[in-house]
Symmetry: C2
Subunit: 428 residues, 2 copies
């Protein structure tokens, strides 16, 4: 082909000098802007750490690191600790996060339980309280009760109130993040259109962030450094229902209206049962803790299974998990069946999104998580489209039962301290 | 709650002056950087347009617009045309794209056909050629034939060779974009691990971009302005198989390895048939043109349907579509059944990704597209999780049969002219 000798693209790759210059400037400033969040993240996950090492790990200049660290010291977010070994010159000071300098309150309003947490900058739980779910009580009454519970938790914990940067609220979806309301969530029917974020911000006086529990759990994993090195991953959050939080190319994906990751309402049988959500053959109808518990109760009635049943879905699901872990064949069958359906939906998600990692979070995985990890891993290794190109890892959340509430607390810490690191950035 | 009188978050919202200043600077420079792409996009979709209007629509200053436009005029990408009505002062010059200034070659290597296109900056097809698919011929032989076909197309079209910025190659997935190879694509079995991008770049001398056909189609829609106003959408591309391209928060989503959007391998029946891909109950097994055509052939054998069958999937699928459009009840049933399965998988995708728009692209929709639009729209309006919060629109591609090849051409135009507008940007 004659064009080969003089590549026609040559004329176009010549970028005008002005654009090239501004491009470089952008790269520099972009780095500087996100560097605050990255420095905080590095000190959190690798402290005590020296300024020199921070410069090495971030690729930033010593001068930039010094400026950033000075601000963080002034704000008390970082403290100097000990001295490194002197190598002849001035001995190195190490930097550590001052975890107690900033605190976030996290609330998970689930169907069975309301969980309150106070977490520090290291993602450590400083105080925790769990109470019964809202049941049929009116949202206004529940909000007053929650306000008292939050006040009591702060009071009882003895933390410095001025360090609290705000509160994150996590609920099952769907929700409207712009108005701060739950919208038609099957598990919180009474809360439809109730302005939960505004109500709690007003009664507690705290700045409030609001998101669905699975997204909160995905941010919580990141905050604790459990997803380091992964840019494309999802959390699968299983409480009474099943949801998912999605991180794409390093940013939490929010979609049009933050109603992303509804993996519980991914179809696993297009000719299957009608779901209360309006769709057909949804995963939740075949795999949710509620369904497993219903089947377990039937097996108990038939005398095939002996476990204590309380009527609270999460407790009964835990009982099935305990029996399965002990090798009871009926319990094993119930858990495996659920895990196989979850695996099918996870494969659909992985095939759509080309993910590297799936983190399983939520109370449902606390007793039977290992079954799910094994079955989902095995299914992905045999059935995912891109399996020949890269593996997809499956892990249990490092946050156990607290994943959503702790995630909610990190939601507000993240938003207040390094908002650009995880949230989506668009060039509109 | 006592904290209400003095919001504890107050101490933290005080952003250090340095950070706030750099934040503002970033916003400005970020705008300037992406402005080149945005100005090109606006001139393409709204030209002839004045500098004043460009400034109004982009929010950029007159000075910035002048600088950008001067560069585009020098590069011949934009030309001045006519004069606006004088309002007393200096009459306004209008700006138009010079569509012929840059051209992209687009190649879609499909199973049934190989399509070649030369497209200009306006997304107009300057030249087109379609030949039979590769069949069992060895990739090396096919690449020589393709090289001759591309040369003949360029030669025959009479375009200015120096205007060709490169070539986009689109194939069905899975693929490895980093190495430029098709990986285990069921419809291109002979091409496994063949370095198609390197081979064609070397034989044609053209800069080559490479992506899957559905992603190319999604970029093509954007390039032609058909998705204006939508930040979160997907293409569903149906050729012989079914794929999908995903745009999230305004950027093409690439995943870990560009193997995104495999909607044809989303499970629609977790207890269903094994798929050659390794998964179970995949959409393609129930809804692909291949399956519809197989069922149609059975109906023809039984004397229930009278249509001409050629053995080429896309042609036979078109024949079923024609019969369905004419009201043949058997053909209508076959097409509706396929559309209902596609609708289920689309709902799964929409529930995971909270999309605003689904664009149906590819040859399969050229005759029976209206059935799919109607059935998928209706299903989304009744079954999507977020339907109470926002609608999800369903549309046929503006690019008809050429969606993948034209998308491939725009892939390289996009990459060379405004790479930041659509491609994903991460703050690593």
């Amino acid at each position: 082909m004659t064009a080969a000798s003089s590549p026609p693209s040559g004329t176009v790759t010549t970028v005008p000098a002005k654009v090239a210059a501004s491009s470089n400037a952008v790269e520099k400033i972009r780095r500087r802007e996100s560097s605050r969040g990255r420095v905080i993240d590095l000190i959190r996950s690798n402290g005590p750490i020296s300024r020199v090492e921070l410069a090495e790990r971030t690729g930033l200049t010593q001068a930039t690191i010094s400026t950033l660290v000075r601000a963080l010291l002034t704000e008390d977010i970082v403290v100097e600790s000990g001295r490194g070994v002197s190598t002849g010159g001035k001995p190195r000071m190490f930097l550590e996060l001052n975890p107690a300098a900033r605190l976030g309150v996290g609330v998970h309003l689930g169907q069975d339980y309301i969980t309150y947490i106070i977490a520090d900058l290291a993602g450590r739980v400083v105080a925790r309280r769990r109470v019964d779910g809202p049941g049929d009580t009116s949202p206004l009454t529940v909000v007053s009760r929650m306000t008292r519970d939050i006040e009591a938790l702060i009071e009882g914990s003895g933390v410095d109130r001025t360090g609290i940067v705000g509160m994150g609220i996590a609920t099952p979806g769907p929700l409207d993040r712009t108005t701060g309301t739950v919208r038609n969530a099957p598990s919180l029917a009474a809360w439809n259109d109730f302005p939960i974020r505004r109500a709690l911000a007003s009664t507690t006086g705290l700045h409030c962030e609001f998101d669905n529990d699975a997204t909160a759990a995905a941010i919580g994993e990141y905050w604790l450094g459990a997803t380091e090195g992964y840019a494309n991953y999802a959390s699968v959050y299983m409480g009474s229902g099943i949801g998912s939080g999605i991180v794409m190319d390093g940013t939490i994906y929010q979609g049009v209206s933050s109603n992303v990751g509804e993996i519980g309402h991914v179809t696993v049988d297009a000719r299957g049962l009608p779901c209360p959500c309006g769709n057909i053959g949804c995963l939740e109808l075949y795999a949710s803790p509620r369904v497993v518990v219903t089947r377990a109760a039937e097996a108990v009635d038939r005398g095939e299974l002996t476990i204590p049943l309380t009527g609270v879905v999460s407790e009964d699901f835990a009982a099935v998990g305990v029996a399965a872990a002990a090798g009871d064949p009926v319990a094993v069958h119930l858990v495996r069946e659920s895990a196989e359906y979850v695996a099918s939906a996870v494969i659909s998600m992985v095939n759509l999104l080309d993910l590297q990692l799936v983190v399983l979070a939520g109370s449902a995985f606390s007793t039977s998580g290992s079954f799910y990890v094994e079955i989902i891993s095995e299914a992905l290794s045999r059935r995912a489209m891109a399996r020949a190109i890269h593996p997809v890892e499956v892990r249990l959340s490092v946050n156990g039962n607290d994943a959503a509430a702790l995630g909610a607390a990190t939601l507000v810490l993240q938003d207040r301290l390094s908002p650009r690191t995880l949230r989506s950035v668009s060039f509109a």
